[in-house]
Symmetry: C2
Subunit: 229 residues, 2 copies
């Protein structure tokens, strides 16, 4: 049986995307799949689809706080709400962070694994959605890059690369690819089954996804979680 | 162990609510719970919470069509999209149907089971979300009532009751109860655990719900489906 290709379009500004990211990373060795991490921009997806953030409806925002807490605990992801979520999500946003992560994707694309891309994404997520730290300043991204396993000089190079037109275009293009799959938010998981893409929005369709790709859903912690905090 | 009380707030205009309804009805004898069916009005919930239907975002509407098809197949619910979903959901709506179903809830409230309320709800859902039939006219509701197991004279009485102020107020009050649980849409499932209500929106939190009430999630078809079509 050939391995199924599963693409995960994500933005670190989304806490639901973090949950989906951790679960799919854990399933790398459980399902017969190639997981492709696709850093994209949530703001771009919302704009292109005419959607608005769920947080704009007060009851939905309140619900999401509780829902995220329950899911994070159940899924064993150390998610904590930032002290000022509105400022973090809508004021500061994730553009520079996603460009930095896209630079990592670009730099690592020839390698046969994307472990560093996974690590950097997780380190940035931990800052914004666990330890309430900045993800906009170069120093913040630099710290995440070092923790992820890059050397100082590599991090310097990544910061330069993050501001290049090539990386800016790359992020735009990946975002457009998500939109082409009819995304209206992130995360978006696209499973390629028999040459046909099947898109799943959010982090609550894993059981259905498993059914679609002919695998078993074993809950959110099938192995040891890969997270180290 | 005392039985957990689980309330399901629903409106037959919502196809996701139908999925949740069928799954929870199947779990009546699997989980140690008392399922309480709470007919409410989705339009009222959206209005009170300032939410808007997801169908208003084109990509979300497209996605929901596919998502519903996949979920319905996986959950073994014979859901079919009506030929004119916008007219059915936003033009005709479900006010008279939900008043009729509330009349059934009112009439049956002294009984020790709500099998007839379950049956009527399902028969109305089958009309709107399976066989593309009207649910607004008295003759349509009458047909659903007869199929659910009521006699002709009982159906007459239910149609009268559905137009009474008491039933109108009852539906408003149940809708308000859902809003008080911070609903921004339906279905809303409220689990009462240790005297504390925990609300779950939608039909995709059963695994988490099971975890919260100390039961096991065995997928959407744990027993034989109760549906007979």
């Amino acid at each position: 049986m050939s391995r199924k290709v599963i693409e995960l379009f994500y933005d670190v500004v989304s806490p639901y995307a973090w949950l989906g990211f951790e679960v799919l990373c854990r399933y790398r060795n459980v399902w017969n799949m190639d997981l492709k991490l696709r850093p994209a921009l949530l703001g771009g997806v919302l704009l292109a689809s005419g959607n608005r953030s769920p947080v704009m409806v007060p009851n939905k925002g309140l619900y999401m706080m509780k829902d995220l807490n329950q899911l994070a605990s159940y899924m064993n992801v150390p998610l904590q709400h930032p002290s000022d979520p509105i400022e973090v999500m809508f004021g500061k946003g994730s553009l520079s962070a996603m460009r930095f992560i896209t630079a990592v994707a670009e730099k690592e694309k020839e390698k046969d694994n994307d472990r560093l891309l996974e690590n950097v994404s997780r380190e940035v997520w931990k800052r914004i959605w666990s330890t309430d730290q900045d993800i906009c300043e170069p120093a913040s991204l630099s710290e995440a890059g070092l923790k992820a396993g890059f050397s100082s000089s590599e991090v310097e190079e990544l910061l330069r690369l993050a501001n290049s037109q090539a990386v800016k275009d790359n992020l735009k293009q990946t975002t457009q690819e998500a939109v082409n799959y009819e995304a209206f938010g992130l995360p978006l998981v696209v499973c390629h089954v028999d040459g046909k893409p099947q898109a799943f929005f959010g982090s609550d369709r894993f059981e259905l996804m498993a059914h679609c790709i002919g695998e078993k859903w074993l809950g959110p912690q099938p192995d040891k979680p890969t997270l180290n905090l």
